[in-house]
Symmetry: C2
Subunit: 448 residues, 2 copies
């Protein structure tokens, strides 16, 4: 029987980071990652395979990310976990004994049962699986009209990439706007306008009744009776945590279908940890259970698990997800951290907002300058910043991270207004009107 | 006699922000900005006038930045301050009574007295003055070989812009490398290599003995006897706070020549504030007096002054400068916040460093990916992050701000390692190896 100190099941972002962080702080322990895929794709890079990257080979996580840190790697599928004897069994019949187990089981794309036609040829989801993605890519090459069902991040990113290839793309989204679940209306409207200006057809506020076709997909029927022609349909209707293995082993699963964990990422068994898409998420601000799945959150959880495998360290905990994310459409970036105005209302916060529209270089006459719009959501009595949205240029990703750091550090609008920043003509907004600070000022004026 | 509630002397970044922030929080008070320049240049944009912007008109701060906020503007020069009667007098003989006075007097470029030849034709400094900059620009058009004396930020930026115009440029820097005073060696070496690869000649570790010429500059004589031909010489040898007016009025000046202020930016007279390049700076970490001048710091001070004009608010204070800055050479960005390893040694910190070399997109096969190198300086016993340096792509400016926020919030390597970030293929490093977090991990491993 194979034996290891720490067994990690899953070799995508969360599994890699849990194993390598754990090894880094426990160099004398043996770490083994078992994953079923021969090759692993960069999960966030999936939409970019089709356009910007050209092929899936350019989107692989090298095995060296695991083995280079002294962690062993085995390609096999774990099919059962014996909690009592601390042994896992694999599809090839191997048994692996462990002291600590980390579940980084990931998630799978949703194919809704109620939707007719998902079994037709040329209907795809976007799974984190190279073989499947390569088939999708091959079909895409031959396709001319693509309908993407679901206008969340993956749907928007995939559509923009397909559009770059010069193909007809339509996004169908049941919410009033694409990305409506994550951005406030004024941002979602701008994103939608941008997509349209790039030639993408957006059908928002429209449900899908049926995928049409005889053997092969030929179109999509909307709930208003409209038919959209298509020779390919991509479903981006969310992902579901992959918890079958954990459930079968008797680990506790929460109401949203995630493996229950505490803030050290321990499951109901203190020797078993869960991290990433399969692990329970809670809001940083309200502790409300959430269904969000992000590689960046997954990696934060994985670091926490990796540092707490053998001894808990009270400061190294996961305080709840802040749900920071960003994306780019052309050279425009959008990002969000913490609560939007919508969500703040839904959760029942007493709050104000502050918005500022500036530029991402200064003077704004510099070539390549983007508008930079920042909106902050601020708790009324404390002045604590609880959310932010940004639309700007290539610095948007790090700017939303800066706002995320403000939220994590419980910064108030006053600490933001007295905060120091660095500015440079080619790299940031102006010191006199740095949009994050001006947005804080706009909110502060409503508080006093 | 003219009367106002709050008189602000100086209409560049600090003056504008002090006046408009003050007005924003005291809408019923009258605010008057008096500045001597008809038109004001964006200070950080100065080097970019010559290349990227094309002319100084594209680098003006519009008067609307002042008057659009309900602040009055007067073009005149204040020549004396009567502290007792709270009246200023101007060059045109006007008297202006005030309740509160904000000095935003700025700084002037240094022309060293010991250096022979600075009075020759075609020898320039880089002042914040449109007329002078326009003359410099005109001369530059006709020049072919330019020597820039001083390889700090302004010297490097001006040189890179002149190089873009296809002219011969040589930077002479007395320190062992350009930007050596602000970056650790490994970064300064890379910056110097980058400048050289772009065709700029760098003479570092070399002092200037004399500017040669008969009437007109013809070259520069170095301390090793080498002569560099030039038909134009630009001095970027630092700036000196403009405090003559304050000194004459009897306000306290510190040993470095700056107007003394407390953390509310009050001078020795509680009704008079000083902000920006003319105001005293202290280190955020050690309270050591510093000579650094940055528009971003100036604006932070100005916001603090603006919020504390009439009533002090204990939380709205300026806690010392963190000296965050960034610059760009081509599409490579470099930035620094807090102490470098060099400075940490000089100040006597007990510390470790952590460095990580990653990428600013993911996968790194994406077009336009830059290396992203992050170095953190961490206090040994507390694990508090006290400094950071970054070399990367266009997101460098906001990434160094993120590190600056970590420093301002006294984040430890542990809080950094458990921090959440957002990542996106086109906008940031990968979630599995986000360079700031990996650098924190590298430092943390040295602590335990």
């Amino acid at each position: 029987m194979e034996k290891t100190d720490v067994l990690v099941i899953g070799g995508s972002a969360a599994g890699i980071v849990a194993a390598t962080t754990g090894k880094s702080f426990n160099p004398d322990r043996d770490f083994l990652v078992v994953r079923k895929e021969k090759q692993v794709l960069v999960p966030c890079g999936l939409p970019y395979i089709f356009g910007s990257l050209g092929n899936s080979e350019a989107n692989l996580i090298p095995d060296d990310a695991i083995t280079g840190s002294g962690v062993r790697l085995m390609v096999d599928e774990v099919i059962s976990i014996d909690q009592e004897n601390m042994v896992c069994e694999t599809a090839t019949g191997q048994k692996i004994g462990f002291e600590k187990l980390v579940l980084a089981l990931g998630s799978n794309p949703v194919t809704p049962k109620w939707l007719k036609g998902t079994d037709l040829e040329n209907v795809f989801t976007v799974p984190k699986n190279k073989t499947a993605i390569d088939i999708l890519g091959k079909t895409l090459e031959k396709s001319k009209k693509v309908v993407v069902i679901g206008g969340g991040f993956i749907g928007v990113e995939v559509s923009d990439e397909i559009n770059k290839l010069g193909k007809d793309v339509t996004i169908v989204e049941i919410l009033p706007r694409v990305l409506d679940a994550v951005f406030d209306k004024e941002f979602a409207v701008k994103i939608e306008d941008l997509l349209k200006s790039r030639g993408i057809c957006v059908k928002a506020g429209r449900g899908v009744k049926e995928i049409l076709g005889d053997g092969k997909a030929s179109g999509v029927l909307l709930d208003n009776g409209e038919k959209i022609e298509a020779d390919m349909v991509i479903l981006s209707m969310g992902y579901r945590p992959n918890v079958a293995l954990a459930e079968k082993a008797g680990l506790k699963i929460n109401d949203l279908g995630f493996i229950c964990v505490n803030e050290y990422m321990r499951t109901s068994n203190p020797n078993i940890f869960a991290v990433g898409d399969c692990a329970e998420k809670r809001s940083f601000l309200t502790r409300t259970p959430k269904g969000i799945m992000l590689a960046s959150t997954a990696c934060a959880e994985a670091r926490v698990a990796g540092m707490n495998l053998y001894k808990l360290s009270a400061v190294k905990t996961f305080g709840g997800t802040i749900a920071m994310f960003s994306t780019a459409i052309g050279d425009t970036g959008v990002g969000v951290a913490g609560v939007t105005e919508n969500l703040a209302n839904e959760r029942g916060f007493d709050f104000v907002t502050g918005t500022f529209e500036g530029v991402d270089k200064h003077p704004g006459t510099l070539p390549g300058t983007h508008k930079q719009i920042v909106k902050l959501v601020v708790a009324r009595s404390s002045g604590v910043i609880i959310g932010g949205e940004v639309m700007g240029g290539p610095s948007t990703g790090e700017l939303i991270n800066l706002i995320g750091f403000a939220i994590q550090n419980r910064m108030t609008v006053i600490s933001m207004m007295t905060a120091q920043i660095g500015t440079h003509p080619l790299l940031t907004g102006p010191p006199t009107a740095y949009p994050v600070i001006k947005a804080a000022e706009a909110a502060a004026k409503k508080l006093w």
